[in-house]
Structure formats: structure tokens, C-alpha cells
């Protein structure tokens, strides 16, 4: 599995309130919610994002609320994956559970710039910046988590058992 697209860059501590403001949480409809993805930090994101594009951010991405709506809207509006220096733990869990690819890679998150074109291979964890040819190796998932991802999310993996 892989994704390829242009980069949207965000700072440290991107919280779930800016990813999907709670004022919209009176519905659980993913398409409806996705219209407001990143609204309070980057109101133009939903208009600019193309399928496969990549979010690159700093430390503690997804901090705050446990709302699964956060990874869900990022995925639903076409984002191919999120690369960050680190993820807040509930967001990390939720992303895996709903099948949003996420990668931890400090150097890539530091060096890749907004607008760069990148290719991300989820199987190998290799991130390639097509704009300047530089490659990075993201930390691999433990086999237990890889299994959840391969089976298509937590509930699908449980159902199989």
C-alpha cells in the first residue's frame, strides 16, 4: 500500500478541536463532518486537498479529545496519510482502528516542506520526497498492530477471530 501527493504542513500539538470542531459533532455522518476537516487551523484545507495528499506535522499530533471523528474526517476528505514527529495516544489508536495510515518520523516531519510532492510506502515505511529525491525510514508498526491494519481495522480483525 502506498500514497502519493502534495504536502500540507502543520505545527506541533495540532489538537482534535481544530481537526474537527465540536460544534459539528451533532452528527456522526462522515461525509458531512469531513466538510469541516481542519477548519479552525486551515479553512482552505478541504478545498485544496486532492486524494492521496499527505499531512506533515510536528509533535503530539491529534492531542485532546478522544473523538474518532478526527482521524475519520482526515481520511474521508481524501488525505492519504499523516506523517508526524509523534502522535497523541488516543488519536494513534483511533487512526489504526479506522484505517487512516499514520507514520512517525521525526526527520521527515522536520525536513519535508509544504507543497513538496511525496511518496509514502506503508509496507516498508519508506517516505520519498519526490521534490528533492530525499528518502526517510519511518518507525515500523509492531506486528500486533500491523495485523489490525492488514485485516482492515480492529472490528474486522476481531470478527475474523
Amino acid at each position: 500500500m502506498k500514497t502519493e501527493g502534495k504536502v500540507f504542513k502543520y505545527p506541533d500539538n495540532v489538537d482534535t478541536d481544530v481537526i474537527i470542531p465540536a460544534r459539528y459533532l451533532n452528527t456522526s455522518d462522515a461525509k458531512e463532518l469531513a466538510k469541516h476537516c481542519m477548519e479552525d487551523i486551515d479553512a482552505e484545507y478541504v478545498n485544496k486537498v486532492s486524494p492521496g495528499d499527505v499531512m506533515v506535522a510536528g509533535w503530539n499530533f491529534g492531542c485532546g479529545s478522544s473523538r474518532e471523528h478526527a482521524p475519520l474526517v482526515i481520511k474521508t476528505c481524501g488525505t492519504g496519510c499523516v506523517i508526524a514527529k509523534s502522535f497523541a495516544r488516543i488519536f494513534y489508536r483511533n487512526a489504526i482502528n479506522i484505517g487512516l495510515p499514520i507514520l512517525e518520523c521525526e526527520q521527515a516531519a522536520e525536513e519535508i516542506q509544504a507543497g513538496d510532492q511525496v511518496n509514502v510506502n506503508f509496507d516498508t515505511g519508506i517516505i520519498t520526497n519526490l521534490t528533492n529525491g530525499k528518502t526517510y525510514q519511518a518507525a515500523p508498526f509492531p506486528p500486533f498492530i500491523q495485523n489490525i491494519i492488514t485485516k482492515g481495522g480492529l472490528l474486522a480483525s476481531l470478527k475474523e477471530e
Binding site: 500539538n13 489538537d15 478541536d17 481544530v18 470542531p21 465540536a22 460544534r23 459533532l25 451533532n26 452528527t27 456522526s28 479552525d40 487551523i41 509533535w59 503530539n60 492531542c63 485532546g64 479529545s65 478522544s66 473523538r67 474518532e68 471523528h69 475519520l72 509523534s86 497523541a88 495516544r89 488516543i90 489508536r93 483511533n94 482502528n97 479506522i98 509492531p142 500486533f144 481495522g153 480492529l154 472490528l155 474486522a156 476481531l158 470478527k159
Partner: protein, 421 residues
């Protein structure tokens, strides 16, 4: 090598003699929790995966608290979906309007959670119950759905930071000032993926409400959980309240901690977290130039009886400053009722404040106190992110109930004088 208190609870629930930090385990759950925002997503996932029964109708808690009494038609539809699910699966701990409270004040009060439990909740502040000596952590809706179906959840066993508390809090400080001080020290990811274990001679002087508030905001430092040892304060609180028998776990004397941070409680001062991160803390006394438009006293962090007492002691017989809206929200119906019986509600209204039925409403910018562009609020809630309580250009200052009430009287951020605790 010894285990931390958290590791002991996790080992017991995984059926293992010992666990070590980093180990992946499957643990048995005592309570699975959801609210009116997260349960609908969980119910959809539960059904989509083809599950048709819950693992134990008495071990699931569904609390309608975020947008109830329903703020609009969409919120009403979500509540209805929760209600129908709870009814069709005979969920015994279902709390609707009239019985509800803010989940993390309600479940300890009603004795649904107890010492030694392993709890997940589809709400990030589920870490609150660590105050009772339980392992309790926030998860998402899919984890909630899996938990409701199987009664199990996977965890990576966390390492821990130990906070060695000594001394006793000054009279104008409470648990909120302690946790804000700690978050200011270690940062919003200072305990990422880790346990925050609070120990030391200072613990005994902290009330149950202080401890619930401190554990509540462990997530604001990125922690997986916060936890207090079970002592006489905890036992007195649980006595005659908890529906299941508490199990007391203690950390091994040789338990390994990533670091130990000493906190002298007597040195704590009234503390405020300025926009837009909970780690951006300053002594309240240094912020006296900041003019405010609104005060909110309530939430899962500070809507408990002692918080209402602090507000009452400060506001009684006085007047909220002109131009300030002061919104007071007791966290549960029992607390609300006690505020009525003790005459607090009358005193609040006489002071020019409003008193609402329990709801999370304003804390997350849902309803009941939304801010316009450029407005500032001192709130006893837990997050001050951009747009958290309304417009992206509004500001939230996090503080204790005593600081919030003192600020309501002056119209500026104000450090409280002595508060009867």
C-alpha cells in the same frame, strides 16, 4: 523487577503474573463507557461489524451529557440513537436527562467505578477514575464498540512518571492548581503514552474532589492514565457507594519509573493556563491586567461539590462585575440538588450568575456559553485550544473554581484569597 500500580492492575486483568512496559496485552474490562457524541459512532461500528449482543449489560455505561438537554435536532437524533441502543441491549447504566450528570463526575458518585477496575471510555477524560485507584483510560468509538462486544481491549503496558507529593496545599489552592502546575512543568506531551502515578505524604491532604480533578487532566499532559494510591480518603469515599467490591493494588517498592518529580504542595499558587495550550501556565496574580467577558464554573474537571462550595464562598453576598456573564454548571443532578438545598443556587442568582442543569455544553464549544470573536473566558474546564469554546479568535483561560469566581467579581483575572475547603 517490580511493577507500578498501573502495571499491577493491567497484569491482573490480563491474567498474567507480571507485565513490563511496552508489552502488548489483552485485558478484561470492568466498565466500558460512552457518551452522546461517541456512542452513536460506536453503535454504527458495532452493527456494521455484525455484533448483535453486548458482553455484559451491567458493565456498559452510556451517559448523555455533551449536548443534552438536546441543543438541536441533530443532537436529539444522536441521543435517540443512544437511548434505543441502551434500551434494546438492556444497558443498566444508562443515564438520560433527569438522571444524568457529566460522565466523569457521575460514575464515581454513583459507585459504578471502583478501585482496582480496568476501564475504557470513549471520552478522553475517562482517566479521571484513577483517583479511585483504578486503571482508566480514554479510547475512541471503535475501541468502545469492540469493548462492548467482547469485554476486552488491547493495551501497550505504559511506563510511568512518579509524582512525589509532599506538604499541604495553601488555603486558596485546590487540585486544579496542582495539575495545571504539573502540566506547565512537563508540557502537553510530557507524559505521552505514560502513566502519571501520584504518591507521597502529600496525598493524604488531598480530598477526593482534588484527586478526581488531578487525574481528569492527566490526558492534558498526553498521559495514558493518572492514578492515586488507595488510602483512607478513598476508602471513606467508596464505602457504601460502590456497587462492586473495591480491589486495592499497590506499586511494588522496586517498581521502575522513568522519572520522579517532586511537588511540594505548600509551594503551589493559584495557576492559570493561558491560550491556547494547557501548558501555557502562569500564576493568576501575574495576569491581573487581563479583562474577561465570561466565567464558566463546571465541567468534568471542576463541577463537583467542593467546586460549587468554592464558588459559593467567593460569590455569596457579592455581585458579578458588570459586563461579565457567569455561568455555573453543577456536574450531576445530585450536586445540583445539593446546591439548591444549601442555598447556593439562590446565592449564585443573587450575585448575578446563572445556574444550568448538568451539561458539558460550553467546555467544548457545544452550547450554553459560546464565545464571540475577541471574547475572553476564565473557565474551570480542561482545554483552551483555538476555538475550543467558540469563535477561533476567542480565548479561554483555565483556572480553579476559586480563581474563576474571584475573576467573575472583578472582571479581570484575579487570584483568590482564602477559600474554605
Amino acid at each position: 523487577m517490580g511493577m507500578t500500580m498501573t502495571q499491577k492492575i493491567l497484569a491482573a486483568h490480563a491474567g498474567l503474573d507480571a507485565v513490563t512496559a511496552g508489552q502488548l496485552i489483552n485485558a478484561k474490562l470492568d466498565i466500558v463507557l460512552g457518551n452522546d457524541i461517541t456512542t452513536p459512532v460506536a453503535v454504527n461500528e458495532f452493527k456494521k461489524a455484525g455484533f448483535d449482543r453486548v458482553f455484559d449489560k451491567d458493565r456498559i455505561a452510556i451517559v448523555l451529557d455533551h449536548f443534552v438537554p438536546n441543543k438541536d435536532i441533530k443532537a436529539a437524533e444522536q441521543s435517540k440513537q443512544c437511548r434505543e441502543f441502551a434500551c434494546s441491549h438492556c444497558v443498566s447504566h444508562f443515564y438520560d436527562v433527569g438522571k444524568m450528570g457529566i460522565e466523569h463526575a457521575l460514575l464515581p458518585e454513583q459507585g459504578v467505578v471502583t478501585a482496582g477496575d480496568c476501564i475504557i471510555g470513549a471520552d478522553s477524560h475517562t482517566c479521571t477514575y484513577g483517583a479511585l485507584g483504578a486503571f482508566s483510560t480514554g479510547v475512541g468509538s471503535t475501541d468502545m464498540a469492540a469493548g462492548m462486544a467482547t469485554g476486552m481491549a488491547w493495551f501497550k503496558v505504559p511506563s510511568a512518571i512518579r509524582f512525589e507529593l509532599t506538604g499541604q496545599l495553601p488555603a486558596n489552592c485546590s487540585g486544579k492548581d496542582v495539575i495545571l502546575t504539573i502540566i506547565g512543568m512537563i508540557g502537553v506531551d510530557g507524559a505521552l503514552y505514560k502513566s502519571m502515578e501520584f504518591t507521597g505524604s502529600g496525598v493524604a491532604s488531598l480530598t477526593m474532589d482534588d484527586r478526581l480533578c488531578i487525574c481528569n487532566m492527566a490526558i492534558e499532559a498526553g498521559a495514558k492514565n493518572g492514578i492515586f494510591p488507595v488510602d483512607d480518603v478513598t476508602k471513606n469515599y467508596m464505602e457504601g457507594r460502590c456497587e462492586r467490591t473495591p480491589v486495592v493494588y499497590t506499586a511494588d517498592p522496586d517498581a521502575e519509573y522513568e522519572k520522579v518529580i517532586e511537588i511540594d504542595l505548600s509551594k503551589i499558587v493559584p495557576t492559570v493556563a493561558c491560550p491556547h495550550l494547557p501548558e501555557n501556565t502562569h500564576p493568576a496574580a501575574e495576569l491581573s491586567e487581563i479583562r474577561i467577558d465570561q466565567v464558566v464554573i463546571g465541567s468534568c474537571t471542576n463541577g463537583r461539590m467542593e467546586d460549587m462550595e468554592a464558588a459559593y464562598e467567593t460569590l455569596k453576598g457579592k455581585q458579578v462585575a458588570p459586563g461579565v456573564r457567569c455561568i455555573i454548571i453543577p456536574a450531576t443532578m445530585q450536586i445540583y440538588r445539593e446546591c439548591v438545598e444549601r442555598g447556593y443556587v439562590t446565592a449564585f442568582i443573587d450575585a448575578g450568575a446563572v445556574v444550568s442543569t448538568p451539561t458539558c455544553g460550553p467546555c467544548l464549544g457545544g452550547y450554553m456559553g459560546i464565545l464571540a470573536a475577541g471574547e475572553r473566558c476564565v473557565a474551570t474546564t480542561n482545554r483552551n485550544f483555538v476555538g475550543r469554546m467558540g469563535h477561533v479568535d476567542s480565548e479561554v483561560y483555565l483556572a480553579s473554581p476559586a480563581t474563576a469566581a474571584a475573576s467573575a467579581l472583578t472582571g479581570y483575572i484575579t487570584a483568590p484569597k482564602e477559600v474554605v475547603r
